[in-house]
Homo-oligomer: 148 residues x 2
DNA sequence: GTACAATAATTGGTACACAAACTATTGTTG
DNA sequence: CAACAATAGTTTGTGTACCAATTATTGTAC
C-alpha cells in the first residue's frame, strides 16, 4: 500500500514531471534547430518525411499524434520556408500530399548532427535514455488506451 | 557502440516520445478537470497553491518552470473563474501576491480524487509510474543543466 | 443518378508557451 | 538625492495544441 496522504503534492505528479521534462528537452533542441529555422514540432514533421514521403495530413496526424488543425498551419509555414510542398492528390482531391523539396532533403544531413548533440548536452547515458524511452512508450500506450 | 545508422528515426527520438506522452497524459486529465473548469496548467497552479499560499508570480514561475508571460494571463483566468485572488504586495508594489479564495480552497477536496482516477485510467502499476518519475527527474535536471 | 453519409482539410475560437520589449517599482552608487 | 541598474509583471508577436464547425470531395443507397 502506497502512502496517499499527499497525493496532490506537486512533486509527485507524474503529469507535472512529464510536462516539465517535455518543455525542458525541447528547450535543449531550440538553439540547435534555430539555425535551420525550425521549431520542434516542425522538426518532428521533417523527421517523419525523411523517413517516408510523401505523406498526407491524415498520415502525419496519425504518426505524430497531432490534430490536423494543428498541422494545417504548421505545414504552410514549412512550405513558406521552402522545405516541403503541398499539393492535392489528383486521385482524391480531398487529401493533401506533402512532399519534400530539394532543400528539405538536403537539410537532413545537417540534422543528422542533432541527436548526438542533444545527448551530449544532456550528459546522460544512452542506457538511461533508452530506459526512459521504454517507460514513455508504455505510458503513451496506456494513455491512448485510457480515453477510448 | 550503439547503432547510429538511423539516429533520425522518429521512433527513437526521446523528445518525440516525451512530447507525445505529455500531450497524451494531459488528455487523460482533460475530462477530469473539465467539470472544475480547469485546464491542466491551471490545475498545476492550483496544486502549487494548495501546497503553499500565498505565492508570487515569480515563485510560481520557478516552481512550475513556466514563463511569467505565460502565467500572467493564466492567473487572470483563474481569478475570473473565482479560484484565486491577485493583489499587489503592500511592501513591494512590484510583486503580485496570489492567494486562494474560499472556492479555490474548497476545490481541493474535489481534486483529491483526480490522481487515483488518472492512475486507474492509465492502468499502470504505481511501480512503473515511480520509475518513470525518477527517469523524468533525471532528464529535467540534465536538460536544465544543459542550456546555461 | 440524386440524396445522404463518410472522409480529409481548413477555419475559428480559446488557451498555453516562449522571447523580446515595455512599465513600474525598488535598490544602489556616486 | 539624482542617475542608474536591477527586479517583477505585463504586453506583444509568433507558434503550437485542441475542439467544434465548415467546406469540399468521395462513397453509398435507394
Amino acid at each position: 500500500m502506497t502512502d496517499m496522504t499527499d497525493a496532490l503534492s506537486l512533486e509527485r505528479q507524474v503529469c507535472f514531471a512529464l510536462a516539465v521534462a517535455s518543455r525542458s528537452v525541447i528547450g535543449v533542441y531550440r538553439p540547435l534547430l534555430q539555425p535551420m529555422g525550425l521549431t520542434h514540432p516542425q522538426y518532428l514533421v521533417m523527421l517523419a518525411l525523411w523517413e517516408q514521403a510523401p505523406l498526407s495530413v491524415k498520415e502525419l496526424s496519425k504518426l505524430l499524434q497531432l490534430d490536423p488543425g494543428t498541422l494545417s498551419p504548421l505545414l504552410k509555414r514549412l512550405e513558406a520556408i521552402g522545405y516541403i510542398r503541398r499539393r492535392r492528390d489528383s486521385q482524391d482531391e480531398r487529401v493533401l500530399v506533402v512532399t519534400l523539396t530539394a532543400e528539405g532533403r538536403e537539410l537532413r544531413s545537417e540534422a543528422e548532427r542533432i541527436p548526438s548533440s542533444v545527448v551530449e548536452r544532456l550528459g546522460m547515458d544512452l542506457e538511461e535514455l533508452q530506459e526512459l524511452h521504454r517507460s514513455l512508450t508504455r505510458v503513451i500506450a496506456a494513455a491512448n488506451g485510457a480515453h477510448r
